[in-house]
Subunit: 148 residues, 3 copies
């Protein structure tokens, strides 16, 4: 942990660089610091996965958008961060705000070009089992904090 | 919110029109009303994403299906609705029943053609952070209810 | 239930046989037994879906990997099992351990070829609505246990 999964309508695929968005979001997660100045997230466990949905339906399908003068082509991107337990509410809100700022900056040019919804939610995992196997985590173990 | 995510085995892709299913499910969500006659879901936040899984494994992989006279080609579709907190159990059950009726009608022709499982689950989100950025929601803000 | 969803960076797609991994994980789920010797999971509801992420960002993007002598091409696979309520902690841990052993054996050859992270988490569903429609479950109903 953490991981951030982006689900989005595939009509956004040709309109915006989702790989660049993933990178910026990952960098933002890595830059987060808690009240004591420690990294919020372990570098070796930080990942962003983005999936365009080949099939999707959004809202009324375009009717209201056309009435409003658009072409009725709606888009949606849903960003869901799952993080481990044990972080303060201030940290959670800080992370959310920082990630949402990145998402806003990224999607802002599209907002006037189409009717687009972007939602970010953070969940705290309540897993009953958690195991890792990694040659990635050890690259960072010296500097990572303990909370995952 | 709400969003409905469909994960399904990719062997269903050529057998059924998943985009049409997404549209019907979205329309069904938009048609839901609570005890007071208000829309259960905000139109601007209602979306359905469907993802065929390029790799999958189902049940015993076909052995029991072949014994039963089928070709051992199993299919599965998992529908997961995530909605916000604050709705009554009656509303939750009503939404689930309405969506399942759509799924049943959609998949019914396939049920005899192959061994197919369809499951619908509804989760109530317990997110610790929730933010929106949208030119889609404002199209509907006059008529949407407040719960998201 | 149960279902196991694998999200992974698409740079793993050409390096490992994910369909084979899905099959081994499903077989492992089907082989699980509880304290009373009964099958932990119903055969008809057991499925694994795997999704390569066409866009992704992992950790620092490669810098530390290159410093360590690698090519900076990181990979990540996240395995998430969702199971129903009502199973003991011993069963949950046993299932997790068995699945992680499969994942370790599968990814072990890749671990030295690249910097790779594999994480497995198990969640117990807290769904408020659950419905099934299936010609798959009845193939197994005689031998399946009742918990789903």
């Amino acid at each position: 942990m953490p991981h951030l999964v982006i689900l989005y309508s595939s009509n956004l695929e040709s309109r915006t660089d989702v790989s660049a968005l993933c990178r910026r979001l990952a960098d933002t997660m890595l830059a987060q610091r808690d009240e004591g100045g420690r990294a919020v997230f372990p570098a070796g466990g930080t990942r962003v996965f983005a999936y365009p949905a080949p099939h999707f339906a959004i809202s009324d399908g375009g009717a209201a958008g056309r009435v409003a003068g658009g072409d009725g082509d709606y888009g949606f991107a849903y960003l869901n961060l799952r993080m481990g337990r044990g972080r303060s509410e201030a940290v959670q809100q800080g992370v959310g705000g920082a990630l949402m700022a990145v998402a806003k900056a990224h999607f802002e040019p599209l907002m006037t070009a189409m009717h687009l919804g972007v939602t970010l939610q953070i969940d705290v995992g309540s897993e009953v089992f958690d195991a890792k196997y990694s040659t990635l985590h050890p690259l960072f173990n010296k500097t990572d904090n303990k909370v995952d």
